[in-house]
Subunit: 201 residues, 2 copies
């Protein structure tokens, strides 16, 4: 995982505030620099473009996610419980992104799909989830299934619910903190619904 | 449900072929007319714009869906089995749309959300699914749950998987019939995965 300097953390935070307010496409590097009292040259020293700020923030989010998930995975819980927790943490770590997501354009999705670092993150996540599923099958808390396949269904399902929720937001007159909070709660529920599909009863 | 004339069916078919090949935004009414050997004026007599052709095709798809679903609902099956079948039929009826979906822009989603006729279709679908869930709870094939809420999760979940699948297509070099067939099969599986969440075991 790439370590970020405190300058880089500051830049990501400032950029995200702007992205979330005006939409990714309507923000320039000059504006981000100005928010921080930096010169543009100083900003370019840390990040060559907006996409690299966005990517760095995804990596930061992933670090938080893996750290929190690993902690839970070490606890003496059933595989199903672990799976539930991992899926919930994922939604919680994405919280800052929901406002931004309403504006996120296809170009950024393309970045998700082709970038090597981000692909490594997806692989790591997939492996972590599949391993919790395997544990659950062994301890009887999860029904017999193909862990690799189910892990993919869970990850895609979460992304799907997110994109449905965000699409609704996109056409909302105003994206208020209350609207975002509602979306967040729905995603937590959707996630629980997905996991329930493999619960042994 | 609105009845379509055979001319209207022909127009929808021709328009869809073009939309699917070139993307909705790159097709003009003049081209659609030309494909059919019509004058533009003749085409405008049936549909005022591309969006109304798109909407008419959604309505046609919905008619097929409801017709097929009602048939199954009348059979002596468990509520869970009915739910499974309805969800599968939905995916099957959407088959023509997957290629188009890869190009579908936000403007069309906006149409989905605000159009009164389409909203009526969504309400009818939601009611039909919730009713199968209620049956399943009664006959013991579905776990205790809130039918209205679960119906929404199932519909949103299907849309979510579709949008994740279509996003992958959007960045594919070539959308071949084999790629579309793969997407279709995945959506059938995803759908079964969602329904399984409320299956009594």
């Amino acid at each position: 995982m790439i370590d970020l300097t405190s300058e880089q953390h500051n830049i990501i935070d400032a950029a995200f505030k702007r992205f979330a307010k005006f939409g990714h496409e309507n923000v320039t590097m000059a504006q981000i620099a100005k928010d921080l009292g930096y010169t543009r040259t100083f900003l370019y020293y840390y990040f060559p473009d907006k996409e690299s700020i966005y990517k760095a923030s995804l990596i930061r989010r992933a670090s938080g996610y893996f750290l929190a998930a690993q902690k839970e995975l070490a606890r003496p819980l059933s595989g199903y419980k672990k799976l539930e927790i991992i899926m919930r943490i994922k939604i919680e770590c994405g919280r800052d992104f929901y406002r931004l997501g309403a504006y996120t354009n296809s170009m950024l999705y393309k970045l998700h799909i082709v970038d090597k670092d981000l692909q490594a993150i997806y692989k790591r996540e997939h492996k972590m989830i599949a391993s919790a599923i395997s544990e659950g099958i062994k301890d009887g808390s999860i029904i017999k299934c193909n862990p690799e396949k189910v892990a993919q269904k869970l990850v895609d399902g979460q992304h799907g619910y997110m994109s449905v929720g965000l699409r609704k937001l996109e056409f909302a007159d105003k994206i208020s903190p209350a609207t975002l909070e509602k979306l967040f709660k729905e995603l937590i529920e959707d996630s629980a619904f997905l996991v329930q599909s493999v619960k042994a009863r």
